[in-house]
């Protein structure tokens, strides 16, 4: 589910900072009931994650004899094997390249297009915007069969550009829908002031628009990154050669190839969760805050 398009036409008036942090005051404690409920929910949510992580620390014999027990003794071999092998890191690299390229492409192209759609006036602008917005109705799932044929005919099979370019294309609707309101909100006076000062329209774009639209850019960038990092269907169709696998594809291939070795599969799977979790914890405020801004009103 990558359609995290938030249909909005109003931009946030101030982005991202969660209440309390800005003021640096001590927050009051909540009621025990709330904490209890939250704890139960979190426990339920984290049990499967814990299962995957802890499972990697066991041996297959342990798992066969007691499927739901804790590791005893703790066995680090599986994790070390996966980390020492080249396959995991190559897949991480592939995923990273694909995700960064997709993000850069989607943000840059999306920003340029959003700028035009937000601040220029020309015939067909409405139709253009509608076309990009309608792209939400064509997720990759729907387009995958002919998309595979397009990529194949372009000679991009088994290559990272073969997944990067389509991912950029499919990230554009979300990006544009989120960015256009941001860009619309930039008051015209600023633009006029810049023109009076002698800046060209493109110069205005580089120097003023981008910083002002930064919160939206970051949100869409993060959404594009997560979407690319977790994507499975497109790599499944396009990447046939092991050396080009991205991480989701690698997890599935590893789990079926080494299905005898449940512990090893769990270790591989939990390691593949880590980049996404690290990324998320770094940008948590932006992600959640970005959703806040987009949904407000």
């Amino acid at each position: 589910m990558t359609a995290t398009a938030l249909i909005t036409t109003t931009p946030p008036d101030e982005p991202l900072l969660t209440p309390g942090r800005r003021h640096k005051e001590k927050l009051p404690w909540g009621s025990p009931v709330v904490y209890f409920v939250a704890l139960v929910v979190i426990a339920v949510i984290l049990v499967p994650v814990a299962y995957i992580i802890l499972g990697g620390f066991r041996t297959n014999a342990q798992i066969t004899s007691d499927p739901s027990g804790l590791p005893s003794p703790w066995n680090f071999e599986n994790y070390l094997d996966v980390l020492a092998g080249s396959m995991f890191w190559r897949q991480v690299l592939n995923s990273a390249i694909a995700a960064l390229s997709t993000t850069a492409g989607a943000v840059i192209l999306g920003l340029m297009a959003s700028y035009v759609l937000a601040r220029y006036r020309f015939r067909g602008r409405g139709a253009l915007y509608a076309m990009f917005a309608a792209g939400l109705m064509f997720p990759i799932t729907v387009a995958i069969t002919p998309l595979y044929i397009v990529v194949r005919d372009l000679g991009l099979m088994n290559s990272l550009p073969g997944i990067i370019l389509p991912q950029i294309a499919f990230a554009l609707p979300t990006t544009i829908i989120i960015l256009v309101p941001f860009l619309k909100a930039i008051p015209d006076e600023i633009e006029e002031a810049a023109f009076i000062d002698g800046a060209s329209r493109l110069g205005f774009f580089w120097r003023m628009v981008i910083p002002l639209a930064l919160p939206g850019v970051i949100t869409t960038g993060i959404l594009a990154f997560i979407g690319s990092w977790n994507s499975y269907l497109l790599p499944l169709f396009i990447l046939n050669n092991e050396a080009t696998y991205t991480l989701p594809l690698g997890v599935q291939a590893f789990s079926s190839q080494y299905s005898v070795d449940t512990a090893r599969v769990l270790a591989f799977t939990s390691l593949s969760m880590i980049p996404a979790l690290v990324f998320f914890s770094l940008f948590e405020r932006r992600i959640v805050g970005g959703l806040t801004g987009a949904v407000k009103g």
Partner: protein, 339 residues
């Protein structure tokens, strides 16, 4: 109010912008505007340069494939060479008559409804409870959101190992003496779809909570304070004031949930594979498309299924936009409505 496109004055421009922007963009008439009636030659060039790359990529990889899917759907075609066996609407007829497709469609409908039912109220409740400044707020939000961030593939692999016949869940039940509850969580057709719902809920519950929390933060605190002064209890306030004001957020979330449920693929494919999906009662239109299309070498038929899936999503989206979201947005999706 009609807008005559070619002869707008400055004030009309900003009014139009304001209207499109939902009404609260603060735009006042600027003193001098370079562009008067339409764009000049240089302006058009700038538009082309800025929009060009995005348009090219989008047309090439999104629009063209969907149009191509519609074209291929009229053929029986194995995927190599040009399609030659024209069958008209026969593929579509086969789809509409195929009991396997009906099954997949009914599963999708079930998932759509149950996702809304299972996630909505519970997430709303939790969001209402968490909507206050308290210690640990940040950590709680992060932890709840974790499943959403993890790839569906990882979720699928992990859960399928947990739910195996001799897996962790059955092992746990046995350890705590509830061995009688052990089931074949994945293969039993009566249970499998509920298992799928549990996994889907687990993954997307956090997203709903966070989205609702975000929406709640847009509701001014003064309202609940005023209600409290007037003697309303916490729950009365929530029911009569907060939730109605949360309306737009709820509707947007429901829309995303519905569309996502219609297009569900990764989880089902990973956990149940290409064959058991139909026997375990968890096939979706997307898995049907992949197993009847690519995996069987029927690229023409698979394209037709893709078109059907697209049309269903589109119809649902348009109906939803028209009847549910109409109040909230000024036509973001059906954008460009000339009023």
């Amino acid at each position: 109010m009609s807008v005559r496109e070619n002869s707008l004055t400055e004030s009309d421009t900003s009014a139009e912008l304001a209207r499109r922007g939902g009404g609260d963009t603060t735009v006042s008439s600027p003193p001098v505007r370079r562009r008067r009636k339409g764009l000049g030659w240089a302006g058009r060039l700038e538009v082309a340069i800025l929009v060009g790359p995005a348009l090219l990529v989008f047309l090439g990889f999104v629009i063209f494939p969907v149009v191509a899917a519609a074209y291929y759907g009229f053929f029986r075609w194995q995927g190599y060479g040009p399609p030659t066996d024209f069958v008209g609407f026969n593929n579509y007829l086969l789809i509409l008559q195929d009991p396997a497709f009906h099954a997949a469609l009914s599963h999708n409908a079930f998932i759509v409804v149950m996702s809304l039912v299972l996630q909505g109220p519970a997430a709303l409740l939790l969001a209402l409870l968490l909507n206050r400044r308290m210690r640990g707020q940040s950590i709680i939000r992060v932890l709840i959101f974790v499943p959403y961030v993890i790839a569906e593939v990882v979720v699928g692999v992990g859960w399928s190992l947990m739910l195996q016949q001799r897996g962790a869940l059955n092992g746990f039940l046995e350890n705590v003496g509830l061995g009688g509850l052990e089931q074949d969580w994945l293969a039993n057709p009566d249970i499998a779809i509920w298992t799928l719902m549990v996994i889907i809920t687990w993954k997307y519950f956090g997203f709903a909570v966070i989205l609702f929390l975000a929406g709640l933060q847009g509701i001014p605190e003064e309202l609940s304070e005023a209600a409290a002064i007037d003697g309303a209890s916490f729950w009365q306030t929530q029911w009569r004031i907060t939730i109605p004001l949360l309306g737009p957020t709820l509707r947007i979330w429901a829309f995303l949930s519905i569309i996502g449920s219609l297009q569900l693929f990764d989880l089902v494919y990973i956990i149940w594979g290409q064959y058991v999906a139909s026997t375990a009662g968890t096939s979706t239109m997307a898995t049907y498309m992949v197993s009847e299309g690519r995996n069987s070498g029927n690229y023409g038929y698979g394209s037709a299924v893709a078109v059907v899936l697209f049309l269903i999503s589109l119809v649902v989206a348009l109906i939803y936009q028209r009847f549910v979201l109409r109040r909230d947005t000024a036509g973001a999706l059906t954008g460009g409505k000339r009023r």
